[in-house]
Symmetry: C2
Subunit: 214 residues, 2 copies
């Protein structure tokens, strides 16, 4: 959540939306659509079309007057920002209900690939769930180093989070998405993000109240 | 994701952080802490302390020189923005792995309360999971109207989303958090937000790459 100055000086909110735009563009390409208007992206992503135009303007002028944006070209430009040459190898720590849902969901996905998962439950360790091998958390460092994984999702109880984070960082992880709302201490070269469904609900409700009180 | 002008002209990113701050403050209160520095919130929420100070400054001057922020006072002020008089009654549509994880998680939560859940599976309908009654999706309108629920989380397959959204809106829902990345059409008085774990991973990776390329 910490805003940083990036290469293109793109605001963080824009970066986040670009991730969603890329997915939408995949959808359009799949449907055989060649050109789209910002209004199409707007509808598909739930973002105002003026915001879409502003966001895309950071990366050059993609619009063709009267025709709109070239779907494939725009998608490819966004992908160069991601390093499209490879998928994002990701380690999942914690294979509870949420972890399982994430593994399943990752099968529909395009860039993020859960390449290994970790848990301590004997029922799960050694198994392979939807193509993802489940290792014992003891093997965290070994597997992450061997597979040169840089990204991790943690879906474990709050009390274990910092310990796991320390081990992930030592093993070479550079980006952590935590699904537990507890403080995390990491070195400054590690990116951390938090995600919490119920906090999002509160945020939505908050917006609704502010709108009503206007 | 659409930026709007709110009552206090608070940026949307700030609003989102306030939700997280409120949770942190609960944590501090529970631990018996009366005064905190912005650095404490910073560590607990993963937000720079300068950002914390800026965010809180929208709502008045809470800091006491040399002592920091009064935990209870700050928490209560944030809560007036949420309408603290009641919890957020929320309807969950879809009780798959993700839905179950959300129900479980909601038991640790303070404001958001899943008061009813909906599914079509005969294995689930009629049951009560962690205190949450599971109804058949046929009863969506009836229950939502009866319980005057305004907020909904949808955790169902993409192809069913718009149909469910239409029904939710007709039943009076004013805020929808969708966990499926498909376009949603709603009237302008309904707030929609999307949440996707794997998109968050891509965003993190994106940030990491931009930082490396600087």
């Amino acid at each position: 959540m910490i805003a940083r100055a990036f290469k293109f000086n793109v605001p963080e909110a824009t970066l986040k939306r670009l991730v969603y735009y890329r997915r939408c563009l995949y959808g359009f390409e799949k449907e055989g659509v060649s050109f789209i208007q910002s209004e199409d992206i707007s509808r598909k992503c739930g973002v105002k079309s003026s915001v879409v135009r502003k966001d895309l303007s950071y990366f050059g002028d993609f619009g063709v007057r009267g025709k709109g944006y070239n779907v494939t070209q725009l998608k490819e430009t966004l992908e160069t920002l991601f390093d499209k040459s490879r998928r994002i190898k990701t380690a999942l720590v914690g294979v509870g209900k949420l972890g399982l849902a994430i593994i399943e969901h990752s099968k529909e996905n395009f860039l993020t690939e859960i390449t290994s998962a970790f848990d301590i439950s004997p029922d799960k360790v050694g198994k392979n769930i939807s193509g993802v091998p489940i290792y014992h958390t003891n093997q965290l460092e070994e597997i992450i180093k061997k597979e040169k994984i840089k990204v991790s999702i943690i879906a474990i109880p709050p009390e274990s989070v910092q310990n796991v984070v320390d081990r992930l960082v030592k093993a070479g992880i550079k980006a952590i998405l935590s699904l537990a709302l507890v403080p995390i201490n990491v070195p400054s070269d590690v990116e951390v993000s938090f995600l919490d469904v119920l906090s999002e609900v509160e945020f939505l409700y908050f917006k609704l109240n502010l709108r009503r009180n206007k």
